[in-house]
């Protein structure tokens, strides 16, 4: 099933599709084309979000300005933040991952090329949904983290926030799909010799990042579901006046939102880790530590969310805990900075545009990291949170960090993607315009924070110094806008030149530089045996290989079936989604007075019957799988149909329960018990339904007689899903029906 044997590909196997024209891009499942689609889409949205930023800066260039209305300004900063995070930075990083992860590990394509195409198309679809709001009564204006209750219908009655939630949900599904795909590619599609600990660091950091996306996005999606149910079905999860909680939205959002910050930066770390060694002409200093520190950052990132909430009033104990956990992240991050620096020492540094952007990254990102440290010191946050000092801080992290690294990545990999090297002279103009514009725009904002300027204000009074600093910032932002224009010009001018970059213009060492520029659709004609972390170095210097071939060959290196890997990741992702709904149910049913309806309303004995049916279906499915392996077709079909029947019994039972509840007035928005009950059991029921559809598809194949022709693994994989759905029900049933009445 896996593609690990694909070390040799001939041109004939590369398919016979149409290779040009618009349709070839729409229908493509080639990871490189999809990568370019991601990058192109990200560039489009970069210009959109950039124009929004410039409009804000024009408005703020002088006090009491009226270039845009307050309403429009609030829409602009909401859309700017959302666009830059979800439609620019994430797609760019995912685009690079799409293009280069398979190439760097020597794979033919991603593990699931069709899923890859689908995941991409979720991005423009979600982006269009969100931008459609401009035409449908106004863009969202509740800020990119949509704090409740401001984001709720009573305070936000147009449909902007609805489109915002829908768009994010759709793009979230796309990001999760890609991430699962990347994980499966890395785990299951490496050629022999490319062990986990020989993978380039960009692949490692994208790998870790994909786990973050897989686990963090469902947290956002669960929160969005609750917000959406509040807004469209008049529930009140986050409406305090009806017993909901404004603070729980912040917990939920930042439980996603802080891992998201690392989602935005880890692959950028990976790019820098590729570019610096090549242009310093030395291998990365401390590869193992770089991997270890990125894993540490990813794990810690799930335990720091409430540092976004130091002004919520959680108390000294919570503030101290999250301050300490946040500062811990400084250690692995610091190690990275020092290791990049140490790679430079003793090297032979070529200071071209890509390397210049890396050097600027080291400086600007450190500034952003250090101002982050000041925010981690909770009492400082009690003064500086949500001021312009914060705006400066996170732009130094995301712009000074990620954007600079992305630019380095573009200059570094452009020759591989197009066969052409971007103009160095124009590149240097681009670099200096970016550095000067960026620091001019954002460095002064630190001082505006000290001077007391809150973020997200559409205008400000003429206080001493405010006008001057804001004007400097605005001028800087236009220099920054010009720099993006220079990049576009560079790309266009370079595209007109002949493609003569050659396979390996930088004399780099990783596998993507082995093949042609741009690579053929099948990526490689031949992959050499991989013995170390720098396969091309080993080829060029057989006398001085990185690792003696025998030394690490036996290192533990699992190769799993790609479908099982994908399903395992999907199950992990879904677990986090249900975990949030379960936490929501417990929270709302313990902390608040429920009134007329509560968990006592439920008919536990009746529910137990259909619970037994669902749990029994796991057993029958297991027996069916057993007969499938034993190639006893009739027995397999019988038990399999029995499984489907039991699943149907569950759904019918749940339908009956819902009908009874609806007729007695327990509707989706009756109170917080009913709202949390219905979204938890309803989403579970939906998963049972999807499971039944999958089982029916298997059944059809089974009747055709196809189930044992190499598809046994697929049946087992779908079985995993079915068992997972049952396991979730055990948790849900215990929480809602057994523990619920006693909460």
């Amino acid at each position: 099933m896996s593609q690990t044997a694909t070390t040799v590909m001939t041109g004939e196997q590369a398919g016979h599709h149409e290779h040009t024209g618009l349709w070839s891009w729409i229908a493509t499942v080639d990871h490189k084309r999809i990568g370019l689609l991601y990058l192109g889409t990200a560039l489009f949205f970069l210009l959109t979000g950039g124009v929004e930023a410039l409009m804000m800066r024009i408005q703020l260039m002088r006090p009491n300005n009226d270039f845009v209305s307050p309403e429009l300004f609030n829409q602009l900063f909401t859309m700017h933040g959302t666009t830059m995070i979800f439609m620019v930075v994430m797609p760019t990083l995912i685009g690079f991952a799409n293009y280069f992860v398979p190439l760097m590990i020597g794979a033919r394509d991603m593990a699931y090329p069709r899923l890859n195409a689908m995941a991409y198309w979720f991005l423009p679809f979600g982006g269009l949904l969100m931008h459609f709001s401009w035409l449908a009564g106004g863009a969202p204006s509740a800020g990119w983290f949509s704090y409740a209750p401001l984001s709720e219908t009573p305070f936000n009655s147009t449909h902007g926030v609805d489109y915002w939630a829908l768009g994010l949900f759709v793009m979230g599904i796309g990001s999760i799909s890609t991430s699962i795909n990347i994980i499966a590619t890395i785990v299951a599609c490496r050629p022999p010799g490319m062990t986990l600990f020989r993978m380039p660091l960009f692949v490692w950091m994208t790998f870790v990042n994909s786990f973050l996306i897989t686990l963090a996005m469902p947290i956002l999606n669960a929160s969005l579901v609750m917000l959406f149910v509040d807004r469209l079905f008049a529930a009140h999860f986050f409406l305090p006046e009806h017993g909901g909680s404004a603070v729980i939205w912040q917990h939920f959002f930042w439980a996603f939102g802080h891992p998201e910050v690392y989602i935005l930066v880890l692959p950028a770390f990976g790019m820098v880790s590729e570019v610096i060694p090549v242009f310093a002409r030395r291998p990365i200093f401390g590869y193992g530590t770089m991997v270890g520190s990125v894993v540490t950052i990813a794990v810690l990132s799930f335990g720091v969310w409430a540092h976004h909430m130091f002004t919520v009033g959680l108390g000294n104990a919570a503030d101290a805990f999250f301050a300490a956990s946040t500062m811990l992240i400084a250690v692995p991050t610091g190690i990275k900075i020092f290791n990049w620096g140490a790679t430079l020492w003793g090297g032979s540094i070529r200071l071209n545009t890509a390397m210049l952007f890396c050097m600027a990254f080291l400086i600007e990102f450190t500034i952003g990291g250090l101002s982050g440290i000041t925010f981690a010191v909770a009492p400082i946050d009690w003064q500086m949170n949500a001021s312009y000092y914060l705006v400066a801080h996170f732009h130094y992290v995301i712009f000074g960090g990620t954007y600079f690294a992305m630019m380095a990545g573009i200059y570094y990999w452009f020759p591989k993607m197009t066969g052409r090297i971007l103009s160095e002279s124009l590149g240097k103009w681009h670099f200096w315009a970016t550095v000067i514009g960026f620091n001019m725009t954002f460095f002064v904002q630190h001082f505006l924070g000290f001077m007391g300027m809150p973020r997200r204000v559409y205008t400000y009074p003429d206080l001493p110094g405010w006008a001057t600093l804001n004007l400097i910032s605005t001028i800087g932002s236009f220099i920054l806008g010009t720099s993006a224009f220079l990049l576009v010009v560079n790309v266009i001018l370079t595209s007109r030149k002949p493609a003569n970059a050659g396979n390996n213009p930088w004399n780099a060492w990783t596998l993507e530089w082995l093949t042609t520029s741009p690579p053929p659709e099948h990526n490689f004609d031949y992959i050499p045996p991989v013995h170390g972390r720098r396969p091309l170095w080993d080829l060029q210097h057989p006398e001085l290989p990185d690792d003696a071939p025998a030394q690490k060959e036996a290192f533990w290196d699992p190769i799993f079936d790609k479908f099982k890997v994908g399903m395992a990741c999907f199950i992990a992702s879904e677990s986090f989604f249900f975990l949030m709904l379960v936490i929501g149910f417990v929270f709302y049913n313990t902390s608040l007075h429920m009134g007329a309806f509560n968990a006592h309303t439920l008919d536990v004995p009746k529910s137990s019957i259909f619970t037994v049916a669902l749990l029994g279906s796991s057993v029958t499915l297991h027996i069916a799988e057993h007969y499938m392996e034993a190639k006893r077709r009739a027995a397999f079909l019988g038990w399999f149909i029995f499984t489907i029947a039991l699943g149907l019994v569950f759904l019918i039972g749940q339908g009956g329960e819902y009908y009874h509840l609806f007729t007695t007035g327990v509707t989706l928005n009756a109170n917080l018990f009913s709202s949390s009950f219905f979204i938890l059991t309803g989403f579970h029921g939906f998963h049972v339904f999807v499971g039944l559809v999958l089982l029916l598809i298997v059944l059809i194949f089974a009747f055709v007689g196809d189930y044992n022709s190499g598809k046994g693994e697929i049946v087992k994989t779908i079985g995993w899903y079915w068992h997972f759905v049952d396991a979730v029900w055990i948790v849900v049933f215990s929480t809602v029906y057994l523990i619920g009445p006693h909460l």
Partner: protein
């Protein structure tokens, strides 16, 4: 816009570093310490990067450097050193926390209860029963317990020189200490985005000597001039105040409004320096402009344009100017 009266004099340029109360002073001191630590780290990182760029630039014809894969001893050094700095910072953090969260079980004894509204602040004084909007008078050198509440969405009470900032969240009780060591006017702002006019949810804290403060309280406790004693245009204005539904939202003389808590109490309107969350100065001319069309001055604010005639506005201003 005419905000001269508000921001003309003695405004601190860098309020975060010009604290005038014990708690923000501790924070400013802590901030300075941490910034110096950060500056030290920045110097190290810059020397590392620029040092390498000066020392190890590629020279024409130089051979490829020998591969070098790292050194665990060095890595341990730059794991342990930052860890020690982190420990130091954690200690500084915990040491700096102290008593910034007042005991919420005593919220009934709060000296002042501040309620955030879209987009203005309301303050109730426990002892005197005084109710004010957007301008909070306090006596100097007294650590006041301020309870924070919200009537709608999340707001944030921020007076950089006098207190830590804290959110005012509906359904989630919060409190801070507010103190001023010197008499003066201090700027405050809402620091949590709260909707279309978040920018103009500014307020003033006016710290006064105990004598001045006592006099202010006394004036605030006195009832406003009774409409019955008014004559001419002002009397007409008082009638308009009810006929044009102003009184539905604005209370005067403890006459509760029909929709309480939607708009500032106007009993002592003239005693305030500003209107509309500090967007304009409180002068008869500005009040006239405001009454003509509040939406033109503060678009999106809750007060509608009542399309008053010039005469009606003049009468209303004459009446409101009696509310000393």
């Amino acid at each position: 816009m005419n905000q001269d009266v508000i921001f003309n004099s003695h405004v601190a340029t860098i309020p975060v570093f010009q604290p005038l109360a014990a708690q923000p002073a501790t924070i400013a001191h802590l901030f300075t310490t941490v910034l110096w630590i950060c500056a030290g780290i920045m110097v190290v990182v810059c020397s590392m990067v620029f040092g390498a760029l000066i020392k190890y630039r590629h020279k024409e014809g130089a051979p490829e450097p020998k591969p070098y894969f790292g050194n665990h001893t060095v890595e341990i050094i730059w794991t342990v050193m930052p860890s020690l700095i982190v420990l130091w910072l954690v200690w500084l953090t915990i040491d700096g926390m102290g008593q910034y969260y007042p005991d919420l079980s005593k919220k009934d004894q709060a000296d002042i209860t501040v309620v955030g509204h879209q987009w203005w602040w309301e303050a109730h004084y426990k002892d005197s029963g005084v109710v004010v909007a957007n301008e909070i008078h306090i006596p100097v050198n007294k650590k006041l317990y301020v309870f924070l509440d919200s009537a709608d969405v999340i707001h944030n009470f921020w007076v950089p020189q006098l207190a830590r900032k804290l959110d005012a969240i509906p359904g989630f009780p919060n409190a801070i200490y507010l103190e001023a060591q010197k008499p003066g006017t201090y700027l405050g702002a809402c620091d949590e985005y709260c909707g279309v006019q978040h920018a103009w949810m500014r307020f003033l804290v006016i710290a006064q000597t105990p004598e001045d403060y006592a006099a202010w309280v006394k004036a605030q406790q006195a009832p406003a001039a009774s409409p019955a004693r008014l004559t001419g245009s002002a009397a007409h204005g008082a009638k308009l105040f009810h006929d044009m539904t102003c009184a539905n939202c604005h209370a005067i003389n403890n006459v509760p409004a029909l929709y309480p808590q939607t708009a500032p109490d106007l009993t002592h309107l003239v005693s305030r320096q500003t209107l509309g969350g500090c967007i304009i100065s409180n002068t008869p001319a500005e009040l006239t402009r405001w009454l003509h069309d509040p939406q033109a001055i503060k678009p999106g604010c809750r007060m509608p344009n009542l399309k008053l005639s010039d005469d009606q506005v003049a009468d209303l201003v004459n009446y409101l100017e009696t509310l000393q």
